[in-house]
Each structure stands twice: as structure tokens, then as C-alpha cells.
């Protein structure tokens, strides 16, 4: 928009175009604003080739963040988080490259790398007598791919793990983009014995009825619900409403 993003007609149109292609990627009926300067646009152009090289050279690493029992403080599970290790830019979080990975199709081989690396890590835990499951984040492309369940089974058998050692997280908005595809895959994963979690709950503009029907065991309530909590009465009511909603589905 003029004059925030650019002052020349040329670059205004270009930025609008960037925003439009982003909106299209998000699905029908979306809108999007141009989000950054030329520097960022350039970076986006060079991202796909950089990602391809990163995949070839296995320049990815997993970081791990525990999920705790709030009462006892025990570790309930550990979420595996993907990082791209770039020589110049350091560790890059998924938010900055996953959409590029999705439209280039690189998300599938990257997703397979994540499954393998997460299973290898759980093996290392088991060898140290640690009995904690790992959760991994899956994309829509993975859910839509015929080989997803097979890749998970392969990861489990390669490292001698039980299905209960692995849980799959899918964001609410991803699940709702193609529920007809996602639901049966969730059911298949549950049949294998894997747990399924809905991630970023409360941000997906979902049909709650549809979400309730999904075969999931965990619902991760989005961080935005903790804004102003405790203290702000409206914030508190929102957080409690989300919590109550999830728990009445039990």
C-alpha cells in the first residue's frame, strides 16, 4: 500500500503481486499484505536454491522443547523443532522457510529427514533409559502424500521404536485446509498407534463441529490465548473458554 511499502508505481505493483501470490498460496478467499522490503524479497528468491542445497548437505538440525505436566512438573513429551543451519544466517526457524519448502515440494524430503532424525533421537533417549515420546510437526503436503504413514512406520522400525513413542502435530489451520484428506490419515495414524495433536488451536477459523470429530488426542491451545493472563479479565475469560472447549471434547 502507498506510501508505506513503496512510492513508485512499479514497486507498488510488484509488492502487490508478491502479496497476491502469497494470498493464493494460502488458499481461496484470502488476502495478504506485502510484508517486507526489497532485501527480503531478494532473500525469498534465493531461498529455494539454498534450501535444495541444504537438503543435499543435510544442513538441518532438530531442537527440542519439552511439554510438561503442569501439576507434577514431569516431562510429558518433547517437541522436535526444525532449524535450518545456514553458514551465513545461523539457525533459521521453520516460519522463515516452510512456505518456500511447501511450494517447491521440498517439504516432503525435509519432512522425511525430520521423521528419521526424530526417531534417531528417541532411540538415543531409550538407550539412556529415558521413556519420553517425541512429537513432530507435519505439513499438509505430508498428510496428502501417499507415503506419509509408510515413512513413519519405517522410522519406527529402523530405530526399534514403539508407535507410542511418536506423536504427530498438525496445525488447526492446516487440518482445516483439507479436512477430507487429513481426517482419514489421522485415523490411520491412530490405528498404527501414533498420537495426533492439533497445534495452534484457536487460530484456524475452524468449524468447531468438524474439529471435534477429528481423531486427535492432544489439543495445543495457541499462545495468543495467554495474552494478558492473568490479570486482564477478558483475556482470562478467553483462555478459560478455549480450555473448557477442549476439555468438553474429551
Amino acid at each position: 500500500m502507498f506510501p508505506r511499502d513503496a512510492r513508485e508505481v512499479d514497486s507498488l505493483l510488484r509488492h502487490a503481486d508478491t502479496a497476491m501470490s502469497e494470498a493464493k498460496q494460502g488458499g481461496r478467499g484470502r488476502f495478504s499484505m506485502y510484508a517486507g522490503g526489497t532485501q527480503e524479497a531478494l532473500q525469498r528468491l534465493t531461498l529455494p536454491s539454498g534450501l535444495r542445497e541444504a537438503l543435499e548437505q543435510r544442513d538441518f538440525v532438530l531442537h527440542f522443547q519439552p511439554i510438561f505436566s503442569l501439576a507434577g512438573g514431569e516431562v510429558f513429551a518433547v517437541e522436535a523443532l526444525l532449524r535450518w543451519r545456514d553458514a551465513r544466517r545461523g539457525l533459521i526457524p521453520p516460519l522463515q522457510f516452510v512456505s518456500v519448502a511447501e511450494y517447491t515440494g521440498l517439504i516432503e524430503p525435509i519432512g522425511e529427514w525430520v521423521i528419521d532424525a526424530a526417531c534417531a533421537e528417541v532411540r538415543a533417549w531409550r538407550d539412556r533409559g529415558i521413556a519420553v515420546p517425541v512429537t513432530i510437526n507435519a505439513s499438509l503436503r505430508q498428510f496428502q502424500s501417499a507415503g506419509f504413514a509408510a515413512a513413519l512406520r519405517a522410522g519406527l522400525s529402523t530405530y526399534g521404536l514403539e508407535p507410542g513413542d511418536l506423536a504427530i502435530e498438525i496445525t488447526e489451520s492446516t487440518a482445516m485446509r483439507d479436512p477430507v484428506c487429513v481426517e482419514p490419515v489421522m485415523a490411520e495414524l491412530r490405528e498404527i498407534g501414533l498420537r495426533v495433536a492439533i497445534d495452534d488451536f484457536g487460530t484456524g477459523y475452524s468449524s468447531l463441529g468438524r474439529l471435534r470429530e477429528m481423531p486427535v488426542e492432544l489439543v495445543k491451545i495457541d499462545r495468543s490465548f495467554l495474552r494478558g493472563v492473568p490479570g486482564d479479565p477478558v483475556g482470562e475469560q478467553m483462555a478459560l473458554a478455549a480450555l473448557t472447549l477442549v476439555q468438553t471434547w474429551a
Partner: protein
């Protein structure tokens, strides 16, 4: 379905959630994301669990 609260950043938030029946949580206040070596080391210790820091007065 079991609820997990994401993005817990303060002890007050943890306590609020616990008091209102939220069983599970994640966030920087409890533990930030860490490299593999660190999580292995942390999980191996008995003290892997999250313990709220005791506040001392004065």
C-alpha cells in the same frame, strides 16, 4: 482430548492454568527449545522435571 497450553512465559500463567485444570503446558518459562545434547542431558537427570523457583523475601 487433552489440553496443552502453548507459550507459557510466566509462573503466574502456569499457576493460573493449573488452577483452572489445564493438565499440560509448554513455553519459555518452563523450558526453551534446546539442542539434542542438552535435552538428552536434561532428560537423564532426575531433575528433568520443571520445578517452580521458590521466591524469597527480603
Amino acid at each position: 482430548m487433552t489440553a496443552v497450553a502453548e507459550g507459557i512465559e510466566t509462573e503466574e500463567q502456569r499457576r493460573f492454568l493449573l488452577e483452572h485444570g489445564c493438565p499440560l503446558g509448554q513455553g519459555y518459562h518452563l523450558a526453551a527449545p534446546m539442542p539434542a545434547e542438552e535435552v538428552r542431558e536434561r532428560l537423564s537427570r532426575d531433575s528433568a522435571r520443571y520445578l517452580p523457583r521458590v521466591r524469597r523475601r527480603g
